[in-house]
Symmetry: C2
Subunit: 338 residues, 2 copies
């Protein structure tokens, strides 16, 4: 029975989340029952949605129970199996949580999935070919649904969702403009990820400046916006939106820690006859296979090779998570556990 380090949610943040809200413990993994599989986690995924789950209030994700292992996506390999479909060594993706090992009822649908690592790196199943990639795919294809030649904008442009979004959107013939924090990320966005332009929101910290920057970067206006951040970015996009523009609301990380951030002029949604739609990708599981096929093909073809930010060891997870919430990661934020 391997010893299993785990991280629990110890208390709920009032305002900004901090490392003290988490607690690291150690326990033995239980013996396997018939139908169960023991997975050794190689990587843990850190995602912005987890911040919402830390609150007790109604959030866009279900609430994380206090005193329990933080939920989260993991990739790893089967270390022991009492299920006929899984062999020791199989690479798998699942929701193992913030811990080094997990015991999974492998027969229960949706908990564990074997993956092919011949053309796609294992860690990518937590990013480009995982939940973040499908998130980008859903917002792009099911809400924004662009025509070739249209101009799309996305905030948090160099994150796991953004890097998949630009690859999917360029494949559809769109002009894609990113918004990211700092010159390094903007350089990475245009030089590696394929953005046509990238705006540094630190250089444009107010509505007027950001709206002007968008006007320059989007001379034909904005037809679609994928929102991960909220605040003055959404206000600025509405000012530059074309008639019938669509906004896929995926995250509003700018407001996670404090008071709600207002939308200053919602009448623009009417004036521009826009559609603004919120979604959670886990509610659209029927579309995942189609999305994952396209994302896997883009990776295999070399058109989607985003960088990853990798923290080392489970104990580093809380700080890596908090850093990601403040934009300190560079691409998909992972924790390497072996």
């Amino acid at each position: 029975m391997p010893r299993n380090q785990q991280i629990l949610l110890d208390s709920r943040p009032q305002g900004q989340a901090q490392a003290s809200h988490f607690k690291r413990v150690c326990s033995d993994t239980p013996a396997l029952q018939e139908g169960q599989v023991l997975v050794r986690h190689h990587y843990l995924s850190l995602d912005p949605y987890m911040r919402g789950r830390m609150n007790d209030s109604k959030s866009y994700a279900a609430c994380q129970p206090l005193g329990q292992v933080m939920m989260g996506g993991t990739v790893g390999e089967v270390a022991e199996s009492r299920h006929p479909d899984y062999q020791v060594g199989d690479p798998v993706v699942g929701m193992g949580g913030w811990q080094e090992w997990s015991v999974v009822d492998a027969g229960q649908p949706g908990l564990l999935r074997k993956v092919d690592t011949s053309q796609v790196p294992l860690s990518y199943y937590l990013g480009a070919v995982g939940m973040p990639g499908v998130t980008a795919w859903y917002g792009l294809t099911q809400i924004i649904n662009p025509q070739p030649g249209q101009t799309l904008v996305i905030s948090a442009a160099t994150g796991a969702v953004g890097s998949a979004f630009v690859a999917l959107a360029k494949a559809r013939g769109c002009r894609v403009v990113g918004i990211a924090g700092g010159p390094e990320k903007c350089h990475y966005a245009t030089q590696e990820l394929g953005y046509d332009a990238c705006l540094d929101h630190r250089q444009h910290p107010d509505l007027k400046s950001m709206a002007q920057a968008l006007k320059t970067a989007c001379p034909q206006g904005i037809d679609g916006y994928f929102e991960n951040v909220g605040g003055h970015l959404l206000d600025a996009v509405l000012l530059r939106a074309n008639a019938f523009a669509r906004v896929a609301l995926c995250g509003m990380i700018a407001g996670y820690d404090g008071q709600p951030l207002p939308l200053h002029n919602p009448a623009l949604i009417l004036i521009n006859r826009m559609r603004v739609e919120g979604f959670i990708v886990s509610e659209h599981l029927q579309l995942w296979p189609q999305a994952l096929r396209e994302l896997g093909a883009l990776v295999a073809a070399g058109q989607l090779r985003p960088r990853e930010s990798i923290a080392q060891g489970l104990a580093a997870a809380p700080e890596a998570f908090l850093g990601m919430l403040h934009g300190q990661n560079f691409g998909k934020q992972l924790v390497k556990l072996i």
Copy 2:
């Protein structure tokens, strides 16, 4: 050549619109050219969208040129015809504007339409079986798209759009809750129009009070909202919205006169996975015949018999229009011109 009283837009409001922004003039109607028809207007329609057109800025309706006859819907009868499809005495609906007579190129599609007054009063073609009715139909069927048993809310509940909306929504088996200004309108809403409940926004002038009132009136939450007003009403609805609720943004009359009214917590659109969509009914002409058929049938069956507010004489139009913007009308606001 009859003398034709007309009302022009004389200047643009900075802030609140006033009677002094309009100017009444008199001219001769020109002689008819081949293919033209002279229409004597019986009723002029006054609608909130006209306020938006008075501004020079980008609005949700095209700009009304200065020094020209105010645009607007009219019903009347053909007084003289040089077009083979129109006979003297034919009842017609068109966009004749704020004047007593108009000369129309009857062959040009969309400018003039003969109507049947055997089962539908002529004036209704400006309301329940006209643009406001189709507006209600579009928002209900194309955006909100409710299931039987769902709870819908509409602001400006007793106006021309609201009265059509409740008839259409009740026919689809929904619970329909109105928001209106004052006890008389609320009484009319529930006793005559068929609303299941009606909230007086004057009794609930702030977010907290309105949200509480909506909670009581909508014990199952809100599945669809038709927005004519904006401001704290929209904020309150978002607080009570169910997952996957839809908001049809048709008007935001609360903000027409001044600074934009913010939306206080747009993150609720994400949290509730909502769709918020603005529209202008004139951009969906292909759906009008279907909508008008249903609305005409409801009127003929006695299920849609809304009251009208009728001002007398063209000179009364500006004050009637300004009163409507402040909710002084009771149902569809018309000006009787004969």
